[in-house]
């Protein structure tokens, strides 16, 4: 299963590192990253493979919830199929 992690918020040092660290800790493989800074707003989309997670999907999601609160950035973890089904015919 693959998930898409989206991060939006004020740009700061180390955002990508923190997000990647969570993935590494939980054994999620990062397949692709796209990021950019638009007028001081940091946006990142990360595609990860999570079939070999060392925890439940819920815990993985909670990690990002915590990180989101710590950093003040908006983070979401969603199944890739949601985007596929909505935007591809």
């Amino acid at each position: 299963m693959r998930t898409i992690i989206t991060v939006i918020g004020k740009d700061a040092v180390g955002i990508t590192a923190k997000v990647s660290a969570v993935c590494a800790n939980r054994n999620a493989n990062i397949v692709d990253i796209t990021q950019s800074v638009l007028q001081d707003v940091f946006v990142m989309v990360m595609l990860t493979e999570i079939q070999d997670l060392n925890c439940s999907f819920k815990e993985f999601k909670e990690d990002f919830c915590r990180l989101s609160q710590e950093t003040g950035l908006d983070m979401r973890v969603m199944h890739e199929d949601v985007f596929d089904s909505m935007h591809r015919i």
């Binding site: 299963m1 950019s36 969603m78 949601v82 596929d84 089904s85 935007h87």
Partner: protein, 452 residues
């Protein structure tokens, strides 16, 4: 990888525009539970529901977590209970209580199907069930009742119309200490669909498989935001925007339905592609109509705007799903829609205008609070008018009105949750339709040719 804009569009729809799956409803046939002993029959009903839908809430919550899509309600619809009453006899309220126990144990929000289909006449069990509806709704909290009193093919059963006016009133009386909540869980239908996942009119039709999963989508906020981005577009452009948005919303419903069906091992039925409002800000159908250029919902132009919206939603959604059904269209429940509540409070939205709107929307007069003094024959007459619109236009129409006992025009009722709150609306009670309603009998089915 997917386009960055597409990804953020989806995230924004969910985060800011209240996109959600309104309901995943499991339809369960109870025909094999019928027994001549009512207690035995109730036991089988309870066991079958718990057996089939025991994992529904957990499975759907897991999907919600994994996919990151809010799924608001988990519900069950069952075979019209009047059919079981026909076999078992006895007090139908026992079935309501068995359903309530099942709802409590499996954790679903509502079970629909305390219903009778009497569009051509009453058969065994129908009258008993209908007469027990007020008690059943007063003594349970999560059970919904519905009665189909007319159809395009059979006409309108005016005896049932008369009876239902009395039942609605009695139901409000019995729950007057609890905001008259009874009739908020009771809907009177014409041309009722057998696969509707939305309450209060959901029941599992006899033509359906033993067990099936239906999904109801929502997203008025998403449509409103999309139209907002095109302030000067003509109606061709607006219709395109609505279609495109409805397509995306429905795809989400189709995905959730497929996954739920696979995980539960139960066939997937239909996606009901409805725009179902909630009292939350930014989740209103009235606001879509206002975004199109009406100063307030309810003024002249509202019917045309709603007709266009309803049609475009269907056109967009049909291609997005393998099977579309249920009610499918835009709902206009007054107490559940922030924009409509406001328009009703200010007097812009009247019951007359709402009736006109129901000729082009997906259901009917929904969640409308009436003065407590409204006599039952007036409620019956409202039902008859609404059923006539549905019968002649070959569409589903429904009436869910709440007589607010001891309250007058301008007062409000608060139901809470998704049912919202609504002002008591003004209604003309000076002249009576009693002699018309008392006639009884059946209004014959309309011509299906020579349409003008």
């Amino acid at each position: 990888m997917l386009n960055l804009n597409d990804i953020f569009e989806t995230v924004q729809m969910i985060e800011q525009e209240n996109l959600d799956i309104r309901t995943v409803t499991m339809g369960i046939s109870l025909l094999d539970c019928a027994d001549s002993d009512i207690n035995e029959s109730c036991r089988k009903v309870y066991e079958k529901i718990v057996n089939k839908a025991g994992k529904l809430v957990k499975t759907v919550s897991d999907i919600e977590c994994e996919y990151g899509v809010p799924i608001i309600n988990k519900r069950v619809s069952v075979t019209p209970i009047s059919m079981l009453v026909a076999v078992s006899g006895g007090d139908p309220v026992l079935y309501a209580k068995a359903l309530q126990r099942a709802a409590d144990d499996i954790g679903v929000n509502f079970i629909g199907g305390y219903s009778a289909l009497v569009h051509k006449g009453f058969s065994a069990g129908d009258i008993e069930l209908i007469k027990s509806i007020p008690r059943a709704l007063a003594e349970t909290t999560n059970i919904c009742a519905s009665v189909n009193i007319g159809s395009t093919k059979s006409g309108i059963n005016m005896d049932a119309v008369k009876l239902m006016g009395e039942i609605v009133k009695e139901s409000a009386e019995l729950t007057k200490d609890n905001n008259c909540i009874g009739p908020a869980k009771l809907v009177v239908l014409c041309n009722a669909p057998e696969d509707n996942p939305f309450m209060a009119g959901a029941f599992h039709g006899v033509g359906e498989p033993d067990c099936v999963i239906h999904v109801g989508v929502s997203g008025p906020g998403v449509v409103q935001s999309a139209i907002k981005k095109c302030p000067d577009g003509d109606f061709g452009e607006i219709a395109e925007i609505i279609k495109r948005t409805a397509f995306k919303i429905t795809r989400m419903g189709q995905l959730v339905g497929n996954v739920a069906s696979k995980r539960l091992g139960i066939p997937f039925g239909i996606v009901d592609l409805s725009l179902a409002p909630t009292p939350a800000v930014g989740d209103s159908v009235a606001r879509i109509l206002e975004e199109m250029g009406l100063e307030q919902c309810g003024i002249h132009g509202t019917t045309a705007a709603l007709a266009m919206l309803n049609d475009a939603v269907k056109k967009g959604g049909v291609m997005a799903s393998s099977s579309v059904g249920g009610l499918s269209g835009a709902f206009i429940p007054v107490s559940e829609d922030a924009g409509m509540i406001e328009a009703a409070r200010e007097g812009t939205l009247t019951i007359q205008k709402l009736e006109a709107m129901t000729a082009v929307c997906s259901v009917g007069l929904d969640m409308i609070v009436l003065p407590g003094e409204t006599p039952s024959e007036v409620i019956s007459a409202i039902i008859a008018d609404e059923a006539a619109i549905g019968m002649v236009n070959t569409k589903t129409t429904a009436v869910r009105v709440i007589p607010a006992i001891d309250k007058k025009v301008g007062d409000e009722l608060y139901f809470g949750g998704l049912l919202g709150s609504g002002p008591v609306m003004d209604i003309d009670l000076k002249k009576s339709p009693k002699r018309f309603i008392d006639r009884g009998g059946r209004i014959p089915a309309p011509m299906q040719s020579l349409k003008n």
